[in-house]
């Protein structure tokens, strides 16, 4: 498959994931499972942009690792703060 074809499919995948991900917003009863799903969709979309738009697989190791750390860190933090929000509130009580 050509690089341009992959890029076009990446865009199509991103559009579908965005519309599908938005549909999760209609659920008022979101538990940890839905939060994890939202985080997963976020992680997949960001990875697609990194790989096909930014072309990170061809970038130097330092750039690639730093960007992936940020991109994977966010969905993980979403899940962790949802699961351990009370602990975070206790630890940061002095800031508020």
């Amino acid at each position: 498959m050509s690089e341009i074809r992959k890029l076009d499919l990446a865009w199509l995948g991103l559009v579908l994931l965005s519309v599908g991900g938005a549909a999760l917003g209609g659920r008022p009863d979101a538990g940890l499972g839905v939060t994890a799903l939202v985080a997963l969709v976020m992680g997949i979309k960001v990875r697609i942009v990194c790989d096909h738009y930014l072309e990170l697989p061809t970038a130097t190791r330092r750039i690639r690792r730093a960007m992936y750390a940020f991109c994977y860190g966010m969905p993980i933090v979403v899940i962790l703060t949802s699961a351990f929000g009370d602990t975070l509130a206790r630890l940061t009580g002095a800031l508020i």
């Binding site: 991103l14 559009v15 991900g21 738009y53 072309e55 509130a89 508020i96």
Partner: protein
């Protein structure tokens, strides 16, 4: 007389710096800035979980999805422009950049309508911690989109005047890298404020 140059559609060589080193310094500054703002979001959310759980239903999901589609499509056009330049197709590159600009402009246009909608629904700076955090992050992102649109005008002018070639297009690619990073930041903001309950 015109010459058709055929360049294999293959990925660039591995181990390179896409765009320029200076742009990546700027990008890591941008990423650090947003990481700190996301930290503010998570701390505020941890302290006010009920307010943040109810927050997304106060915002327009249609506007949020609209921003996402505009930015993703604009980013796709920019990526296609870079591919066109690599294949020495300057005029195609310019057309893709014009497309990217039109879709990129969709972002501030939707923002205009959303702000009017928000204010009509009482969502101003006194509307609580969720809305204040939302304005704080989304306006910062809007500023980055504005920088990107200005940069896009610059690379369009440079492309139109033949300043880039298949051998030398680091300026175009540097802009592309910035624009895609702005995309990535939005892909994180969108679920935090419009989707996550």
């Amino acid at each position: 007389m015109s010459y058709a140059i055929t360049v294999p559609d293959s990925p660039p060589a591995a181990g390179r710096i896409p765009g320029s080193k200076a742009m990546w310094v700027g990008i890591f500054c941008e990423v650090t800035e947003f990481a700190l703002m996301f930290a503010v979001y998570f701390i505020a959310r941890a302290h006010h979980p009920e307010i943040f759980r109810a927050g997304p239903e106060r915002l327009s999901l249609l506007a949020g999805t609209g921003y996402t589609l505009m930015l993703l499509t604009s980013g796709w056009c920019v990526a296609r422009a870079v591919h066109a330049m690599r294949a020495s197709r300057q005029s195609a590159c310019l057309r893709w950049l014009i497309g990217a600009f039109v879709f990129g402009l969709g972002y501030p246009v939707i923002k205009l309508f959303e702000i009017r909608w928000n204010l009509a629904h009482g969502l101003d700076g006194d509307a609580g911690v969720f809305i204040v955090t939302y304005y704080y992050l989304s306006f910062n992102h809007l500023i980055h989109v504005f920088w990107g649109l200005l940069g896009m005008i610059w690379v369009m002018l440079r492309t139109a005047t033949g300043s880039y070639s298949a051998e030398e297009y680091a300026g175009l690619e540097s802009f592309a890298v910035y624009w895609h990073t702005t995309d990535i930041i939005w892909l994180m903001i969108f679920p935090l404020f419009y989707v996550l309950r």
